[in-house]
Amino acid sequence: MSAPSRPPVSLRYRTRQALQGYGFVAIWIVGFFVFTLVPLVETFRYSLNHVLVSATGVEQTFIGWQNYTRALFTDPTLVELLIEYTLETLLSVPIIMIFSIIIALFLNLKLPLKGIFRTVFFLPVVITSGPVIRELVSQGATTVPQIAQSPLVLDFLAQLPRALRNPVEYLMTSFILILWFSGVQILIYLASLQKIDRSIYEAAAIDGASAWESFWKITLPSLSTTNIVVAVYTIITLSHFSENRLVRYIYAQTYDIKGGIGYASAMSFLYFAALVIILLIVFLTLRSRAARV
């Protein structure tokens, strides 16, 4: 029997399967419309309006793109924060990734006591909440003071251009914090390292490859898809973190008299756009690297 004229039984089976599938995912589709799509569209509408919330309800006056132009051209804070956010994220992501790979490689060795180290390196995932981090940062617990306040570092910072100074300072003052964001990433790398076939390493060793060469020629290429997953996860975690300065600024503007919901919504969308651009940059870089190997 030729493919186009399938028996009706099979067709019925397929529709039945589809219906059953929809039955399982229906709850998500409803949820998506109610809790994501509608609020997203609504937020976009707010961003084009001047929004006043009173006891009786929400009053909106349409003002077009004014909230956006104000955020981009009148308000100096937002653009500055956006640039800082972009630079900080683009700096932190490679640091977190490299750090996680190194730790995962160590923990992948057959060493006694590695379970303890695994517990240590995963611990921050459990305790990083916004207020806890804020307390720790404000008490200076997230940096090694001897490094961050040494004259050498301060001199170095003073020579940097203004746009770069804040991100680098952020690196210095929150170095431990950045490392604290690597817990899940270490586990993901560890799991993918364990999936690499040992026999490839043995074959390479017989052909005379050193451990160093094996790492660059076998281990790293095998991690290329994992890299993308880890990078995306890291960017999202950093960007959604409630202590992110941009997130806090937008939150503060929501309840500000001068700001308001409309303005905050416009900024949220600008922030969203920046996030998507960062994701695209990182995704394309990593994918081209993955394709080349």
Binding site: F24, I27, G57, F106, L111, V125, T128, V132, V229, I236
Partner: protein, 333 residues
């Protein structure tokens, strides 16, 4: 002349043999030493092992530095705080900071609120995500790839792009400050990081063998029964991992909870973020003596009390945390 030459030659040969033996013994010995220190193909060398341990301990210390700092500072008495000689070892075990922080945080009731606010949405979110993940893993239907894209999109959209209309709606419905404000999105599979859990369940169910389910289907079991009686029990590890991660993330999430629970339930992290204010309500400045003023030790004691329940949970369920990724198989395929 000839004999002398011969004699010399044999002598030389013997000497050479001796030297050769000595050298080879030396080489074997050196090889052993090198193998011991630098490692061979069969095992890691001592130097290498020591280096790795040293690095791991050093990084581990840096990693735990904030926690150690917090724990030690929180045990310092006001006198110790002012004494520049006291860095790492307090002169006495001072628990007064904890007593104050306990009162300021209103610990028993905020702790219960935190447990409620993290456990209930987590369990519901896990159940919903498992149903959705099962549907995606086991059935073919048009629009499935679109659904995957949308699930990823929900992961990417920053919360501030959807939170305000929801907040206003809840306010109209009188649900603001109520547990429902967090439960409803979780029920729709739009809870905090739901996308990750859906993907975890998708991975889990797609790697489970289909045979049992098909056998049950042949015996006339309905789809819901196949899911509940066969798929769910086999995916138990994924459920445990999802629930505990979800609890941790809900516990630590403050952006959404602050907005949704405004004026209602007070969780531990929320109370911590208004610690200074709450402290001044309990111990008004100006009326208390100098030792009862708010200092960093009290704040850090509060912070430690904040993470204590999670630390306990972490050390009890350690295996489930550190083996979570292996158990659920998310590595990016």
């Amino acid at each position: 002349m000839m004999t002398f030459h011969l004699l010399k030659k044999t002598d030389l040969a013997g000497w050479q043999a001796h030297l050769g033996r000595m050298l080879s013994e030396r080489r074997v010995f050196l090889d052993r030493v090198r193998g011991f220190l630098l490692g061979t193909r069969a095992h890691y060398g001592l130097l290498f092992t020591l280096l790795v341990y040293a690095l791991l301990v050093a990084i581990g210390f840096v990693y735990l530095y904030p926690l150690l700092f917090m724990l030690i500072t929180s045990l310092k008495s006001p006198a110790d705080l002012l004494n520049p000689m006291v860095q790492w070892v307090p002169t006495e075990l001072y628990l007064g900071n904890y007593v104050k922080a306990f009162r300021v945080l209103n610990y028993p009731s905020t702790l219960m609120a935190s447990i409620l606010v993290s456990v209930v949405p987590s369990v519901l979110q896990t159940v919903v995500c498992s149903i959705v993940g099962y549907g995606l893993a086991r059935y073919h239907f048009p629009g499935k790839s679109l659904l995957f894209v949308l699930i990823l999109v929900t992961f990417i959209i920053p919360p501030q792009n959807t939170v305000i209309p929801q907040m206003l709606t809840y306010r109209q419905l009188g649900l603001l400050g109520d547990l429902w404000a967090l439960v409803l999105p979780a029920l729709g599979g739009q809870g905090f990081r739901s996308a990750i859990f859906i993907l975890i369940f998708y991975q889990t169910f797609i790697s489970l063998p289909k045979v049992l389910e098909e056998a049950a289907r042949l015996d006339g079991a309905s789809e819901a029964r196949v899911f509940l009686q066969i798929a769910v029990p086999t995916a138990l590890p994924a459920y445990i991992v999802s629930v505990i991660f979800s609890i941790v993330w809900y516990w630590n999430e403050t952006y959404l909870t602050v907005i949704f629970l405004e004026g209602g339930i007070q969780t531990l992290p929320m109370q911590l973020s208004r610690f200074v204010q709450a402290y001044q309500n309990l111990y008004p400045p100006g009326t208390v003596n100098i030792f009862d003023r708010l200092n960093e030790a009290i704040k850090l004691a509060g912070t430690f009390l904040n993470i204590l329940p999670l630390l306990v949970m972490y050390f009890v369920l350690q295996k489930w945390f550190v083996e979570s990724v292996e158990r659920t198989g998310i590595t990016g395929e």
